[in-house]
């Protein structure tokens, strides 16, 4: 373990950066991430976006590269296996284990159970997509399936995180930076209601294949499968039409009904997270460019000032260009 010291204290938190592609993996490892997380180029992965992710060979090479530099590779198999097609998810788990993955990040109860029996020695982390946010929910996965770490939902407060960590059932990982999901992760069907494809079933949210922009008079309309998610007057920055970040009419008001298009940023509370007993910090954003973990994620362990600069930039930028 090559965990870093933050804020000069003795406790350490592991820093985990996103790797949407092999070059992002190398950039994250070079920048000093303790671990990277990535997934296969198919529906077993909740960031199943066009042109992203790894094939079997790329994962093997990526794991070898990361291990040669003492970094870990966590493989996300965090969609819910399609009934009658469980073999696709089993094969992905087999490939990840055989490539030398340091942990599988899993959400589906059936897949966790299967992986636990098929690979009793393999470390399993509970994906945020399982939305385990309470002590009994976490104990369920630890006691029944030997889960070693749980990734907590992004909406919890530090006090809530501390209360969960204090139970000591397993290691706690939290999102330190990046996009914020206001819906309970893994329990949101908005995308499939609009498009037929969802994070749980297809590993996509508000998929690009259903996105259309149309210049209408002085407005740019952003639509998802025909549903208008927002309209931007000329001269205003546009955004990707992520469903829950849209503006809608509700109760006589026009507003961001669900969420303002902003990002999560925990810089201010890093010491508190550390005191709360958090084992690992995760940077969101496998779909972002490879400059992302390099310019933002890597700033996290290198010093507060530098990270704050990157994060402040990101927050400012996120208001106009946020997408997930």
């Amino acid at each position: 373990m090559t965990s870093r010291t933050i804020y000069g204290t003795q406790k350490t938190m592991e820093l985990i950066c996103p790797a949407g592609t092999p070059s992002a993996l190398r950039a994250a490892v070079e920048a000093g991430s303790d671990a990277v997380y990535c997934g296969f180029r198919n529906e077993t992965n909740a960031r199943n976006f066009p042109g992203l992710n790894f094939d079997d060979e790329e994962l093997r090479e990526g794991v070898a590269y990361a291990h040669s530099r003492a970094a870990k590779v966590l493989v996300a198999l965090n969609t819910f296996a399609r009934a009658g097609n469980f073999g696709i998810w089993q094969r992905a788990a087999e490939q990840a284990v055989s490539a030398g993955a340091d942990a599988l990040i899993v959400a589906d109860l059936g897949l966790i159970d299967w992986a636990r029996k098929a690979f009793p020695e393999q470390r399993i982390h509970l994906s945020v997509q399982a939305a385990a946010a309470t002590v009994p929910a976490i104990r369920f996965y630890v006691e029944h399936f030997g889960v070693r770490r749980v990734v907590l939902p992004r909406v919890l407060t530090v006090d809530e995180i501390a209360a969960i960590a204090a139970d000591g059932a397993c290691e706690i990982e939290v999102f330190a930076f990046g996009g914020l999901c206001v819906m309970a992760e893994g329990r949101c069907l908005l995308s499939s209601y609009a498009t037929g494809e969802s994070p749980n079933m297809n590993g996509v949210c508000s998929p690009a294949a259903h996105v259309a922009y149309a210049q209408e008079g002085t407005d740019l309309a952003a639509r998802l499968n025909g549903f208008t998610i927002d309209r931007y007057p000329d001269g205003q920055p546009a955004a990707y039409p992520t469903l829950c970040k849209g503006r809608f009419s509700c109760g006589g008001k026009t507003m961001h009904v669900f969420e303002e298009p902003t990002s999560l940023n925990t810089i201010e509370i890093l010491p508190a997270l550390q005191r709360a007993g958090v084992s690992a910090l995760k940077i969101e954003g496998r779909q972002r460019g490879k400059a992302y973990p390099d310019s933002d994620g890597a700033r996290l362990p290198r010093g507060v000032g530098c990270f704050a600069f990157g994060a402040a930039n990101a927050i400012a930028g996120a208001v106009s260009i946020y997408r997930r």
Binding site: T21, G51, E58, L220, R288, K290, A316, G317, S320
Partner: protein, 167 residues
């Protein structure tokens, strides 16, 4: 426009495209089904456009005088310097799109796949020009410096890794 001699440009473009593909053999597989799409690349400040067909068995980059009579799945339009900046990773496509410096029409998923594949390929200007390894870094550095000055002079959007907050 038809008087513009496009043939030399066609040769140069095709040559550079082949060089880039030779350096990045996995690009087509990364594109998956989107490799079969036709992309119209439209430098809005130039009297020509490109049709990009990345399919694995017969990739092609064609120079055309106009897109008017072309069939394509997606069109990517921006000033030439911005398009070049996208290719060599100086710009982030998302940021440019959302600030309206880049226009995308048609198959958004295909464009996203192309963006991610180019991002992964880490295309180096000298490689694309087919230069020998010894001089490549020098040329790449000169190209980047020149391009940066041109962008500044022309008031193009700031580059991604100048801390412009494009994430």
């Amino acid at each position: 426009m038809s008087v513009l001699p496009l043939l030399p440009l066609q040769f140069a473009a095709a040559r550079m495209f082949q060089n880039a593909l030779a350096q990045h053999p996995r690009m087509a597989s990364r594109l998956g089904a989107h490799a079969l799409k036709r992309f119209a690349i439209d430098p809005v400040d130039c009297p020509f456009s490109f049709i990009l067909e990345p399919k694995a068995d017969a990739p092609r980059l064609t120079v055309v005088p106009s897109l008017a009579d072309q069939v394509y799945d997606a069109r990517i339009a921006a000033p030439l310097l911005v398009l070049l900046g996208l290719l060599d990773g100086r710009y982030d496509g998302d940021a440019l799109f959302f600030t309206r410096d880049l226009m995308i029409e048609g198959d958004t998923a295909a464009v996203l796949a192309l963006r991610n594949a180019i991002e992964e390929a880490d295309i180096d200007p000298a490689e694309v020009l087919g230069l020998p390894k010894q001089v490549a870094p020098f040329v790449t550095e000169r190209y980047r410096s020149l391009a940066m000055h041109l962008r500044q002079a022309l008031g193009a959007p700031p580059e991604i890794n100048c801390g412009s907050g494009s994430q």
